[in-house]
Symmetry: C2
């Protein structure tokens, strides 16, 4: 045990119960959330919202300081501009890939020698402090991603922290699957047994790299960050150039905790860059980088899988989230649920439904039959109803994150038959925010395959007329197997259709939601209960989080020796 333990706070002892509860939770998969999702002063304390906002504002236009962080001399000015209409103007320490790897490697041995309990304790303390900083992080997430504030708070704060702790739980438990030492005593036909003492040490693979995305920097970033950290790897955090602040705050807190615990804070590093940089690609193929976590485009994700051959690569990429509509007992509930699903954060989620497969000749509902075209029109009406009130619309839609999304929306207006045209809304608080309502177009399953077999990231969805529900299920299966998906949904009042959908989803390798007509949405997944991705279709190579997400990040190395005679007698 390192000397620091006597003088330093023992974070493992502090968080031991939480960690044990988290391990139980991932095994039970019922509802559990240690970090309250309500942005309420009843939970986070009087003054917390204002302090968080002030803390966020204090960063604007400043150099972001990370004490002791290498390469601070010539800061990077990242082009962070809030989708709500103002530039953040923050600069960050600059670190070349070679510097980052060298510094991380130097920090690695002591972190490797810490035991899994120590590392899990440090991680839990980091999460606890991230939770306390949830309001500050919420503003940082809102003004880098364009998420509406409450969502930025929940998804960027407590829900991301839940996902982080879930990764900590798996990583910690997986390293405790085998004992630190064991006695091996093999009976002999004659005489004393052969006795050996064996030690088993979980050892991280090497330097880990987290390449984060623009839209969910913390939610998608924390699982890889914490899984790598707890399994004994130093982590270089490479944020998206337009969403640096949420992860810079995370790195700062992680470094503070590491230092307090007596470890080199350089176990967690920030590698910020502007969008002209090649830091991600350079780091990803560095021979000492042994783990890469990535969320983003299929193009770069596939490049990483093809080129970062020295590393274990975990990717979440694009896909075709699909809804099969067969029949329903609650047509209005279905439409309300789907309309909110499409509107939430303007469809800028890797889980937003895009392809809505509806039999051309119609579905049975409690309000009578509806053809595919009628369904599309009804969905448009539901969207208008949901988004009619500007305050409520802003709270659901947030702002468009980038020009690329806006351009895609323009392009979408040219395909199929537009059933619900996107409107531009004025944001009640931010005059310069770009707020658009979703586009819905009617396509034909046979004629428009070229259109609906690519991902249209953003507020673009297609009602696709099919020959029948069988045809819809076959399409779901074939398109997801080929192009991937993070979510699949089925609506039917027939159990045999639900079972057929389950079979199609199992075979396509995608998680399935059935008959969501209430307050749960296809694009939401709850930590400790829902798996996020699957490694069984092209949209992702990892579940964020499960045992497969952590086992490749470390190896258990053993040593063995015979026990001296005097010790054997105590066997």
């Amino acid at each position: 045990m390192p000397n620091h333990r006597s003088e330093r706070p023992d974070f493992f002892v502090r968080h031991q119960e939480l960690l044990a509860r988290a391990v139980t939770a991932v095994g039970e998969r019922g509802y559990w959330s240690p970090y309250p999702e309500s942005p309420s002063t009843l939970v986070y304390g009087v003054g917390a919202p204002e302090e968080g906002k002030a803390a966020f504002k204090a960063h604007l236009g400043q150099a972001f300081l990370l004490p002791g962080h290498a390469g601070s001399t010539s800061p990077v000015a990242c082009e962070e501009v809030s989708p709500y209409g103002f530039a953040l103007g923050i600069s960050y320490p600059h670190l070349t890939p070679a510097e980052a790897v060298a510094v991380a490697k130097a920090a690695a041995p002591a972190w490797r020698d810490a035991d899994p309990d120590d590392r899990a304790g440090v991680a839990a303390e980091i999460l606890s402090r991230l939770n306390a900083a949830s309001f500050e992080i919420a503003h940082a997430v809102q003004h880098t991603t364009g998420q509406p504030f409450v969502m930025a708070f929940q998804a960027g704060g407590p829900h991301a922290q839940d996902r982080g702790l879930e990764a900590v739980a798996y990583a910690w438990a997986e390293q405790k699957r085998h004992p630190a030492t064991a006695r091996w005593s093999k009976p002999q036909r004659k005489g004393e047994p052969i006795v050996m003492e064996k030690t088993f040490t979980p050892v991280g693979r090497g330097v880990a790299l987290l390449i984060a995305c623009n839209t969910f920097p913390t939610w998608n970033g924390y699982p890889g960050l914490f899984a790598s950290l707890v399994t004994g790897n130093p982590v270089i955090v490479k944020p998206h150039p337009r969403a640096v602040l949420p992860l810079a705050l995370t790195v700062r807190i992680a470094r503070e905790v590491l230092a307090e615990a007596g470890y080199d804070p350089n176990v967690v590093l920030l590698a910020a860059e502007d969008s002209f940089g090649r830091v991600a690609a350079e780091l990803a193929v560095h021979p000492d980088v042994k783990i890469v976590d990535f969320t983003g485009s299929s193009e770069f994700g596939n490049w990483l899988e093809d080129n970062a051959r020295q590393a274990a690569v975990y990717t979440e990429k694009a896909g075709l989230n699909t809804v099969v509509v067969d029949s329903t007992d609650d047509y209005q509930g279905l439409l309300r649920n789907l309309a909110f699903s499409l509107s939430l954060y303007s469809g800028q989620m890797c889980t937003t439904p895009q392809n809505l497969l509806v039999p051309r000749d119609g579905i049975a509902t409690d309000q009578g039959p509806r053809t595919a075209a009628e369904f599309a029109a009804d969905l448009g009406t539901a969207l208008d109803k949901l988004l009619g009130d500007p305050q409520r619309a802003a709270g659901a839609l947030g702002a468009i994150v980038s020009d690329a999304v806006s351009k895609r929306l323009e392009e979408a207006a040219t395909v199929g038959k537009t059933v619900h045209a996107p409107r531009t809304l004025a944001h009640p608080e931010y005059a310069d925010a770009c707020v658009r309502t979703p586009l819905v177009a009617l396509l034909d399953a046979d004629g428009d395959a070229e259109t609906y077999t690519r991902e249209w990231f953003g507020p673009v969805s297609f009602v696709i007329a099919t020959d029948s529900t069988s045809h819809s299920l076959r399409l779901l299966h074939d398109t997801i197997r080929r192009h991937g998906a993070l979510t699949a949904t089925v609506h039917s009042r027939e159990e045999y259709v639900l079972q057929a959908a389950r079979a199609a989803a199992l075979d396509a390798g995608v998680h399935l939601s059935e008959n969501l007509t209430g307050p749960v949405f296809a694009n939401q997944s709850a930590a400790f209960s829902d798996f996020h991705g699957t490694s069984a279709n092209p949209a992702a190579s990892a579940a964020l989080t499960d045992p497969a997400f952590v086992t490749g990040r470390f190896t258990v190395l053993q040593s063995r020796r015979h026990l001296p005679a005097q010790e054997k007698t105590h066997v």
Copy 2:
């Protein structure tokens, strides 16, 4: 549940206790072996040895029949020739890669739908019948690999079965980490909780391919075979052209058990070929082959890793097994142990020590100091003593498996200074067996790096004179990090040297044995206690077996739905 369960034997119930005990064993890593290693009639029954031998002999010169196996019409004549001097002359069913994949895929859905308990039960029954066939398999292993009989029995029979059950235990337990169903109940500030029912289904990745080796077809093959099988994947077994029979017997037994349990026997297929075939390479890159297990050359292993990109690839390749000799309290024990290590199966093990690092100026021993040259000479003497008696020599050495090994032995005579020249021995039972004693050459750490940084598979080892033990440890670290190793050993009476060796081994990513002077040898690893490979150095990408070895073979897919109101009230 499938209908067959009522009428068919329930293998899970039969083996449930064994499976639970195996899961406990892998978690405790003490001594445990369910399949007795002693080839004794007291264990295996009177007549078992003779029946096994007769069963083996009955295969010679015949067509090997696999009832119901596809492609049986034009059999493959494999070139199996016993290293003990006779041709086996057995032909096997012929299956093209396309046929094999198509048949395996057709068998997959029902096997996927079986639950993990059923699959583990089937696997345990297969292992139980393999155990009963241990004598027949022992002869098959002896006369394809050249292993001495007792070793062929132990390593090819019970020890391989142990490794198989170890893989079953990990695969079964890993699929049981998450419940089959869970109730998610999220409290709401007002009103009833939101309640969902979720199902979690482990689903295999697809068709699995096992590419087995010549020297340990069952021991190295069973972990991948059983890990893939129990995680729900059909397996195509592709034996080495010179060691088909042990795996053909295995496939036959597996198919019998599958059929009895009501599954398609084509869940396990044999893809035999002669050495001119390209079946392994063709299958490995087939788009539907999603898992590849391989033991063999670095060349083909690296090719698989580079090219079988659609699959999870688990390889065991070549390396430089290393011994650091610093000092000893039991010089004769050290020499005896090492001489046996080098002699066992003529060094034709992926774990045999090759590079013996000894300070040029000498080591301290209980018999006084010994220079590197003296140590090498003493090792030669120990070899002569061990192998002086022909019966005993034959029992240790077995026979040379192939011309490639013989040629390597000739080549080794030209490097460094030969200290112990290989002798050709007459086998007491088989006049035509090729039996050679090990070669030991003295090399210099600085001058002969080109020689000792490649693997010399077979009875070739080098005493390498180094500057000091520090130099030896540095060499161990650097050569293993670069070229890989499955085993590392240190001899020292100083605890600080042992600790330094542990640190070097952890950093190099290799398992370590310390001061082996008794009946445990560096090249042996015990199932349920010792990990075999590590994924932390180039010699292997898998441990055979650990959680990382199984988690990549399946995905847990979920479905979720709200509970109907009447069911909620029972929450």
